[in-house]
């Protein structure tokens, strides 16, 4: 219902995953996500979310969520979607703390055709696909375990 809540969530998501350096950029990203608002509203949203604009050390600026919001985001409730993201050909899977090793082991034993290897930390699994396996295939293979 509340379009605003959805928008705030979208803003958090965008800020978490992209380097946004001003509200105009954020505005564009929101447009792409289907939200149409003005800069004024954005300013208010940002205030409400306590998002801060910080210096990144290269002369640029980045919006950043406060620690409290980060943790709130990090542990929502029932999650439906496997949290997979790619960097180059590598896939990274985020898990709940302590679960990475176990899940990685499952992946290793059950998806040998698509997955060459996995390396697990505490809440992160690095998945190394075999050459020639598409990202879609990797997602499909991983989604069974997440």
């Amino acid at each position: 219902m509340s379009t605003k809540k959805e928008r705030l969530d979208a803003i958090c998501g965008i800020i978490r995953t992209k380097a946004i350096s001003n509200q105009e950029e954020l505005l564009k990203e929101l447009e792409d996500s289907g939200f149409s608002v003005t800069q004024a509203t954005l300013s208010r949203d940002i205030k409400q979310l306590k998002v801060a604009k910080v210096h990144d050390g290269n002369g640029d600026y980045v919006y950043r969520l406060p620690e409290t919001s980060i943790s709130k985001q990090a542990q929502p409730e029932g999650k439906k979607k496997p949290n997979i993201e790619f960097s180059g050909n590598l896939a990274v899977v985020k898990t709940r703390p302590g679960y990475a090793m176990g899940i990685a082991s499952d992946i290793d034993t059950h998806a040998p055709n698509e997955i060459l290897a996995t390396i697990a930390g505490d809440d992160t699994i690095l998945v190394i696909p075999r050459n020639g396996v598409s990202q879609e295939k990797v997602i499909a293979a991983l989604s069974h375990f997440i």
Copy 2:
């Protein structure tokens, strides 16, 4: 010697001890401390110090020192060059034995825009940047923690 350095120190001191909500206020405080500058200089100082303007939750704004500056204050280090090396888009950071996990955790919580994930051993951290993040950006993001 350098009047500028003294001024930067003064700015840190003021921000640490008082709730400053804009540069004009800071300007006045600096005047009281015997520094006479313009807002333009202040803006540059703030950028250099990486001081951020954050929301305090009561609808007000407060300037805050970054964690990095705080820790730099607490630990005047012996200028050790960060040991970062790239392989493809991946970065590998070497740390002192036993430190990798802790530093990796710091990276995870403080550089979410550039860094997709980290995986740490005992003295090695594998850093996985997000797609499209340059090596320079990665180095800049990591250098705060090393």
